[in-house]
């Protein structure tokens, strides 16, 4: 597999794009009370070699007999032995995955969707804004940046979650910050335990960052309200709309723009997204029930 930022890799699939490919659960890591990271490996060696994805893309994760859910890939796109999926246990499929012990077989279809603009980000300051589980699809882009650190200028990660215990990838957040390779600012809604860091919504953290509007690229992924507020706040700081990227979520069924479920106005989120250039969707993004 070649690590690439250019062409989107072809999705891997069984006899066709509707047919999942089996993968084994190698490890399960508890991130917080309802979020776990599953490390998966395709059972077929040849598929392992063929499979490639770009940071920001997702897979349809399948639990035999239960169903599928769109889950973003949270591991390093430049290693292809295994894949991480960080899952919040909230729905039918995610609950079923959560019950599976290591070594169980699940299915994967993908990768689908658009990626973070790693190429356009080169030579720029980068602000990454994540809320809760929204950090999962951003983690591969952070790995990419760390692997190619010299290509990028200042990199800041602003992360918000409910409580300190809710932090996803908590030790990595600390490690990245310690390394000094990227600046990590975390805020929580409720300070519990011995938390002495910032309290409040993640967009408050923006005040602590100097944004050079003309040379900053912003990546946002979180709940709908965070996506909106963060995007608008950066626009107010005069960051051009086409330098702001958001990753959106919808109910997806096919993953490649055929079933119609995930439409947002003219866009199929599975195919035209999940990562959108804000300029593309600014006119419909703030309207309800699109």
């Amino acid at each position: 597999m070649k690590a690439t930022t250019a062409a989107r890799p072809e999705p891997i699939c069984g006899m066709n794009t509707w047919m999942p490919v089996p993968a084994r659960i190698l490890r399960v890591r508890e991130e917080n009370f309802n979020t776990r990271t599953f490390t998966l490996q395709f059972t077929d060696e040849a598929i392992r070699q063929m499979y490639g994805f770009l940071p920001g893309q997702f897979n349809m994760l399948y639990v035999p007999g239960v169903g599928e859910a769109a889950i973003s890939i949270s591991s390093d796109s430049e290693q292809h032995e295994h894949l991480d999926h960080t899952i919040r246990i909230v729905g039918s499929v995610t609950r079923a995955v959560a019950k599976l012990p290591p070594d169980s077989i699940v299915g994967l279809r993908g990768p689908f969707g658009t990626a973070w603009p790693l190429k356009e980000m080169e030579g720029k300051d980068i602000v990454i804004v994540a809320g809760g589980i929204g950090i999962a699809p951003l983690r591969p882009s952070i790995y990419w940046i760390l692997n190619h650190r010299s290509l990028y200028k200042r990199v800041v990660l602003l992360y918000g979650c409910r409580t300190p215990e809710d932090r996803v990838f908590a030790d990595e957040l600390e490690q990245w910050d310690r390394d000094g390779s990227i600046q990590v600012l975390v805020t929580v809604d409720n300070a519990t335990g011995d938390w002495s860091g910032p309290v409040g919504v993640v967009t408050n953290l923006m005040r602590r960052v100097k944004v050079n509007a003309d040379r900053t690229v912003v990546l946002v992924c979180g709940p709908k309200i965070l996506n909106r507020v963060a995007a608008w706040n950066f626009l107010q700081l005069h960051v051009p709309a086409d330098h702001v990227y958001v990753s959106l979520e919808r109910n997806m069924n096919c993953g490649f723009g055929r079933c119609g479920h995930c439409q947002l106005g003219p866009k199929f989120i599975c195919k035209d997204g999940p990562v959108f250039n804000f300029a593309e969707i600014a006119d419909i993004f703030t309207k309800e029930e699109m």
């Binding site: 639990v63 007999g65 239960v66 729905g91 609950r95 079923a96 019950k99």
Partner: protein, 264 residues
């Protein structure tokens, strides 16, 4: 590793037994089912009774007597996952028609010695008494939905039971709309899917035995029926008050048409 098969209990309250029969009508599938679960309590089918607690309880029938009022509390305590099955259990059923009338008067019409009866003023759905985990609509329930419910519980997923209009299923099955092509007052556009569009398949209007769909627009269909198809508010009231009359929003709508009927 095979764990112990889940224990299933089937209860009857005020009902006609038709929903329990749907379970028995599964026949070959029932045998598979019996292999996958342990029928711990099902008086209609077998005499043997295993002691509670049970993993899954299926309740048929409405709560209409003081005795049932107490028993449903015990049933809830005995079952981890409780499912109301059929129109009686989910809406009060056809016997809930008495909720708009005088029970004593009704009893006098039907029984020679009504004083032997001990009955509540109203027949009500199970959910008005205890928390239920899931419900299956229909008079009777659809056997494939029953099977889907059990398979889903066995695999630990959410049952694949849709709540949209009957029309979508009716059209998928290739039926011609009896409302549009024959002017029959079909309740399909406000009724929940699940029956397999049985009535329209045989050129009959749906009479809503699966109860209201998600967000039904009853006023709009009612307006069409009264203004275009010549039905009266009384007709509307009677259409809505059949198997699921006591279930919102059919209940509220039927009361609206009753007021119109009386007020002109």
């Amino acid at each position: 590793m095979p764990s112990a098969p889940p224990k299933v209990a089937v209860y009857k309250f005020s009902s006609c037994d038709g929903c329990q029969l749907q379970l028995l009508n599964l026949e070959t599938k029932l045998l598979e089912l019996v292999g996958a679960v342990e029928i711990a309590y099902f008086l209609e089918a077998r005499r043997r009774v295993l002691p509670p607690p049970y993993d899954v309880g299926l309740v048929e029938g409405s709560v209409s007597t003081p005795e049932e009022e107490d028993r449903i509390q015990q049933v809830r305590r005995d079952c981890k996952y409780l499912v109301a099955i059929g129109a009686c259990a989910t809406s009060g059923g056809i016997q809930a028609l008495r909720n708009w009338a005088n029970v004593e008067e009704y009893a006098r019409y039907v029984y020679a010695k009504p004083e032997y009866l001990s009955t509540l003023e109203t027949a009500s759905p199970v959910a008005s008494h205890v928390f239920i985990d899931f419900e299956l609509r229909g008079c009777p329930v659809n056997q494939y939905q029953l099977l889907e419910l059990v398979s889903a519980l066995l695999t630990g997923r959410k049952p694949n039971i849709s709540t949209h209009s009957l029309c979508i299923e009716c059209k998928r099955l290739g039926n011609t709309c009896v409302l549009v092509a024959q002017g029959k007052p079909c309740l399909g556009p406000i009724t929940q899917v699940g029956c397999g569009a049985l009535c329209p398949k045989f050129n009959r209007a749906c009479y809503g035995c699966f109860g209201p769909m998600e967000q039904p627009n009853i006023p709009s269909l009612g307006q069409w029926f009264t203004e275009r198809l010549g039905h009266t508010p009384r007709d509307m009231k009677r259409m809505l008050r059949l198997f699921n009359g006591y279930l919102e929003p059919f209940k509220q709508a039927s009361e609206h048409y009753e007021r119109k009927e009386k007020g002109g």
